[in-house]
């Protein structure tokens, strides 16, 4: 118990200190312009340590038991492997590849390794069409687009964007959804009524159209997109967590905590939230793909952050050159598809593993 509190307090103090420090640097040292996303990272990292890492560490035997169950689902393990690969790619990749925004018209429309492409191009000097044969080489393993940008570098940059948006926005949505769900169920009555009616209103908006509207109003910027997806995507979580908490609310350990004089805040944060953590983990893995696709779709229709290269943006460029450079549209979509598939497999595996009724 005491050991767990050590980690908890550390996890509370450290992010607070870090945020304060970054804020000070941001305000007083003019040279360091800290991206708004950094604050999100630190805050969500703190929440993650308190509510996910520390309870998992405290109950290592249980974690081991669930891991044995997850391990039996081969698709989930494969999905996990792909996600780890993607994370590594996003972290290490940018150091190994060229600048994804470097334009070079001499190297445009080079096909991927193993493909040759014949295209007729108009030559300015002679005023005639000549047939150019382009063969893929290892300098651009996935080829280049119509501006000569390296596709592999763009894909790696996009992996980073997708993962960032996926993790951060899901983090916000889950934190918000859990809080609203738990508070709604715990306090009941008027609070429950107001919160759930608001949830109903938010749920009536079609998710993607609401995203389009808000990004259109507030401007396309990665931090805004993350915030908007996070602030609109919590409704489903809130409902699930609410119904889960409703069944927990009357259990003995909650009554015992209350009888011992624990405050409402303490009951919610240290007794209710940790008990819905397994449900939250499953919801998290199953909501990340939706968020990643939503971001890609926004970039695809031209509402993405123009400063970063994301998969949706590459796909958008690729659709315009389908007849000359088909690979530009194929590569980002394949990555997007595999990422979504991987998270779905892992989420399904986790759900089965946490379900005591399933006989794995």
């Amino acid at each position: 118990m005491t050991k767990r509190f050590g980690i908890r307090n550390l996890a509370l103090i450290l992010p607070a200190l870090l945020i304060g420090l970054t804020l000070l640097l941001d305000i007083f040292v003019i040279e360091t312009i800290v991206e708004p996303l950094v604050y999100l990272y630190i805050a969500l990292g703190g929440i993650f340590i308190i509510y996910v890492i520390s309870p998992l560490y405290a109950s290592r035997r249980l974690v081991n038991y669930y891991w044995q169950r997850v391990k039996r689902n081969r698709l989930a393990v494969a999905g996990l492997g792909f996600i780890l690969f993607l994370i590594l790619l996003a972290i290490i990749g940018p150091f190994l590849t060229a600048d994804p925004t470097a334009v070079s018209f001499e190297e445009k429309n080079i096909p991927p390794v193993g493909f040759t492409l014949k295209e007729s191009i108009y030559e300015l000097e002679t005023g005639q069409f000549i047939t150019r044969t382009a063969t893929g080489d290892w300098q651009h393993p996935l080829g280049t687009d119509n501006k000569g940008r390296d596709l592999l570098a763009m894909i790696i940059s996009g992996a980073g964007v997708s993962l960032q948006v996926g993790l951060l926005a899901t983090g916000i949505a889950l934190a918000l959804g859990t809080l609203i769900g738990v508070i709604s169920a715990y306090f009941g009555g008027k609070t429950d009524n107001i919160l759930m009616r608001f949830t109903d209103i938010m749920m009536t908006f079609p998710f993607f159209l609401l995203l389009v509207l808000i990004v259109f109003i507030f401007g396309a910027n990665l931090a805004i997109i993350v915030l908007v997806i996070g602030l609109t995507g919590w409704t489903g979580t809130a409902r699930l967590i609410r119904s889960e908490t409703l069944s927990l609310r009357t259990r003995e350990f909650i009554m015992a905590a209350k009888a011992l004089g624990a405050s409402d805040g303490r009951v919610v944060l240290t007794h209710l939230v940790p008990n819905v953590i397994s449900l939250i983990i499953v919801i998290a893995t199953l909501s990340i793909p939706g968020v990643i696709v939503a971001e890609a779709a926004l970039s695809f229709i031209g509402l993405g952050d123009p400063a970063v290269t994301s998969w949706g943006m590459v796909l958008r460029a690729g659709q315009q050159t389908l007849d000359t450079a088909w690979w530009v549209a194929v590569a980002p979509g394949v990555m997007l598809f595999l990422t979504v598939l991987a998270f779905n497999f892992v989420g399904d595996g986790l759900r089965d593993a946490f379900d005591p009724r399933s006989s794995l």
Binding site: T204, P206, F216, I301, L303, L336, F345
Partner: protein, 325 residues
Amino acid sequence: MKKTWLRDYIIRRLLYAIIIAWGILTVTFVLVRIGPTSPADKYLANLAARGQDAAQVIAAVEARYGLDQPIYAQYLNYIGNLVQGDWGWSFSTSMPVIELIQTHWIYSFQLILLSSIFAGIIGILIGIYSAVRQYSRTDYIATFFSFIGISIPNFWLGVMLILLFAVQFGLFKTYYDTSLPLFSLANLKQLILPVITLGTGMLAGYTRYTRSAMLDNLRKEFVRTARAKGLPERTVIGKHVFRNAILPLITIIMFDLGSIVFGGAYLTEIVFGIPGLGRISFNAIFADDYAVVVAITLIAAFLILMINLITDITYTYLDPRIRYD
């Protein structure tokens, strides 16, 4: 007894729908108001670009949007106008938004209708078969493909279909032709790729929902009783299991409409250039045409609200178990 109960329920449900509708309008109003640029700014920038007199334009715009009035009056005006059918003016197309919507909704409607038919029929049939033959090879294949169908981003699927069937094989045109009459075979043909694009995700979802709804009911005792009575398997599945599975199925399908189908149709229209509501909202974004973008989000939300209302009422009417809650 039954009649008054149902009437009370419908009245309660209608009142509730009105509250939600008011909430939707308020959320949109707040969003537009707290945004960094006001509709007038975007309108102005656009008109100024055409070299019109700034002072005149400002006066006209402020009067048009009522921006010179206090905020509560603006709020009341906003709701009043929408309720009376004045959905604003689209300057990029120079017509009232409501007219724009009246000419374009049919394209979205035909796409969603055809996709629903396609996905509904095939998805439900595969789902039933999958559940009846649980753990058979067909079941595994269906489950596998439904996983893929759910995971494939529909706008990418659309681009790939164009690449394969329109660009490589030349079977279809790469772009939607609006000159074709709506009720013609040629129009139906050019909707094949869009319907597959939108319908694949729906199909995969419906297969999964049907399968699990059927499995839930297959294990019930009344099924054993029906079999014990010696009823043919066809009757057991069709009359006893499927009839019980269909209600939760419809609820979940209706719920999908808002979260998946409308967003999917929006993207499908953009990929294929179908001039439906999604496409005009997309065009309006790049013309900074505020009223259109807001109106189309509102319309989609109201449609979902209405569909939910109808589903709830029908559900209550059809399922006697809910009535006594």
